[in-house]
């Protein structure tokens, strides 16, 4: 089993197509939709966690990108600016997945891209604009 957190960018002409359905039924992939934004006549964005057998995952993602989807790893869209962060830890108690966490020994804050689901709860909580999300 392989799991990837990805951002699917749908060009406007694909918005009315059931791409997710095809990934599930034809490629036997498990898809957990974490966020979605669909606007008529514009690019749609879907943040998903996709899991399945390695070859199914590769084939499914190949199918989606052949259709014209722009697929990016989620990590690129969520950024933690270590320079701006003062390690106050305000974000860590609201982060639902523990992507933002505190090392208790030295009270330093760290960010684990792989755990982030781009829920944006940290954005209004950070007084120093250290968390940025392009979505």
């Amino acid at each position: 089993m392989a799991t990837k957190r990805l951002v699917f960018n749908f060009p406007p002409h694909l918005i009315d197509q059931p791409v997710t359905y095809q990934l599930i039924t034809e490629h036997n992939l498990k898809i957990n939709i974490l966020r979605a934004r669909i606007t008529p006549r514009e690019w749609g964005r879907l943040v998903v966690e996709v899991s399945g057998k390695k070859q199914n995952l590769d084939a499914g993602l190949q199918f989606a990108s052949d259709l014209g989807l722009d697929i990016k790893p989620l990590a690129q869209d969520v950024q933690w600016d270590a320079e701006k962060c003062i390690a106050c830890t305000a974000c860590c108690s609201v982060c639902p997945t523990g992507a933002l966490s505190v090392t208790r020994q030295d009270m330093q804050v760290s960010f684990d891209h792989d755990k982030c689901i781009a829920c944006e709860l940290c954005i209004p909580v950070c007084p120093y604009e250290a968390m940025q999300i392009e979505f």
Partner: protein, 409 residues
């Protein structure tokens, strides 16, 4: 054997002073014993880095040609209105000031992306700011309009002047209501879903000298990455609160007014901060050296997060309506562990004061002292302590009836 500040300074000058941070001293006191540690250690350095709203800075921008009287006029720096009620070219920038056209909380929660705190940070970082001024014009100051770029280095004086910093302890904030609230203690989720605190605990300056024996008027300190001074007690200084056996206040108590030359400070230690739905402030880095004059001072500085307690306060109902009382008492060790128990519920905790940065302040100040570049100063006068009778009073409102011009009791 007791030491004096002069003796400690002689050791600092000769590079022989023994200095530890307020975190390091805990294990030193444990391993050596308090008596021996008190004899050997000269200075313990403290630190804190947290939002401190009653901060600001005053500037003298020099006279334009022809001259303009900013006093009584209106001036903005990067659209932030500044206070001009002084002589011709002096003004004061407050940390929480925001542009007149900021929508504030009209679209709730407001974002408050830029304010006085950010302006101070930008100026200290050496950035150019836009100065726009309108004045009424006089015979000696005829000019009525001024628009110019200005930098910190262009100004005559640029002084950070904070009327309340370094709060000795603070509330732990929670939300008992069923809706999210946006406070100066951060975003508080409903039904006790999180708790926020704001103190460096065992590293915090006034928690290491709880009865203000050595920290007083004129104490030289680390301020905003440079050198500053304690000017006097801060506003809302409230020494007479319940204390633990070691004299540590169980809630917010003492405060300090501090100042220092902005031109030698560093933007890493003066950071503008935006609190969603609340407003703008300035995070200030402060470190105060505590001279180990005797065993009593060593004992104070050896305080640990387990010995310091804070009160849990509901910010949905109790705080806004001044309803006294506490939902419970927790230690900073518990707060820093990541969760506390309030009303039998496990509540995740988060800080607003950066302990990691507080350590950095304390160790920077330790290095300055160890290398002989920072000497301790003898306070000119103490800040008022418990016996002073000073109390932090609420405002007693007296209604004004019938457009009266004279107050009647």
């Amino acid at each position: 054997m007791a030491k004096t500040i002069q003796e400690i300074n002689e050791k600092i000058k000769s590079g022989k002073a023994v200095v530890y941070t307020a975190e390091e001293i805990i294990s030193v006191a444990r391993s050596k014993g308090k008596k021996k540690a008190a004899a050997e250690v000269d200075v313990v350095t403290t630190g804190t880095f947290a939002p401190m709203c009653s901060s600001g800075a005053y500037f003298n921008v020099g006279h334009s040609n022809p001259r303009i009287k900013l006093g009584g006029g209106s001036v903005t720096l990067n659209d932030i209105p500044v206070y001009t009620g002084f002589a011709a070219v002096d003004f004061f920038v407050g940390a929480t000031a925001i542009p007149d056209d900021d929508p504030r909380n009209k679209i709730h929660p407001g974002k408050f992306p830029y304010g006085g705190g950010h302006l101070i940070e930008d100026l200290v970082a050496g950035k150019d700011a836009q100065l726009l001024a309108r004045a009424y014009g006089t015979d000696c100051y005829p000019r009525r309009k001024l628009e110019t770029w200005i930098r910190l280095e262009d100004m005559n004086e640029a002084m950070l002047f904070n009327m309340r910093n370094g709060y000795q302890n603070y509330n732990v904030a929670v939300n008992l209501s069923d809706r999210i609230i946006y406070t100066y203690m951060g975003v508080l989720h409903p039904n006790l879903r999180n708790a926020t605190y704001c103190s460096a605990g065992q590293l915090s300056p006034l928690l290491n000298d709880p009865l203000y024996r050595t920290i007083g008027i004129g104490t030289r300190i680390f301020l905003g990455g440079g050198v500053g001074y304690v000017v006097d007690r801060g506003t809302q200084h409230n020494p007479d609160v319940p204390r633990t056996d070691r004299g540590v206040p169980r809630m917010g108590a003492g405060t300090l007014a501090v100042m220092g030359d902005l031109k030698q400070m560093n933007a890493r230690w003066l950071r503008g901060a935006s609190f969603s739905g609340y407003g703008v402030t300035l995070a200030v880095g402060i470190g105060i050296p505590v001279p180990i004059l005797d065993e009593e001072m060593l004992n104070y500085t050896a305080v640990t997060d387990n010995d310091i307690v804070a009160q849990v306060v509901d910010y949905s109902e109790a705080y806004p309506n001044c309803i006294p009382g506490s939902l419970g008492e927790v230690t900073y060790a518990q707060l820093k562990s990541g969760s506390i128990t309030v009303k039998d519920k496990k509540v995740p905790t988060a800080g607003l004061s950066s302990y990691a940065r507080a350590r950095e302040v304390a160790s920077t100040l330790k290095n300055w002292i160890a290398e002989g570049s920072f000497l301790l100063s003898e306070p000119v006068a103490p800040v008022p302590s418990v016996e002073s009778g000073i109390k932090f009073k609420p405002l007693q409102e007296r209604p004004i009836f019938n457009n009266a011009r004279v107050a009647v009791d």
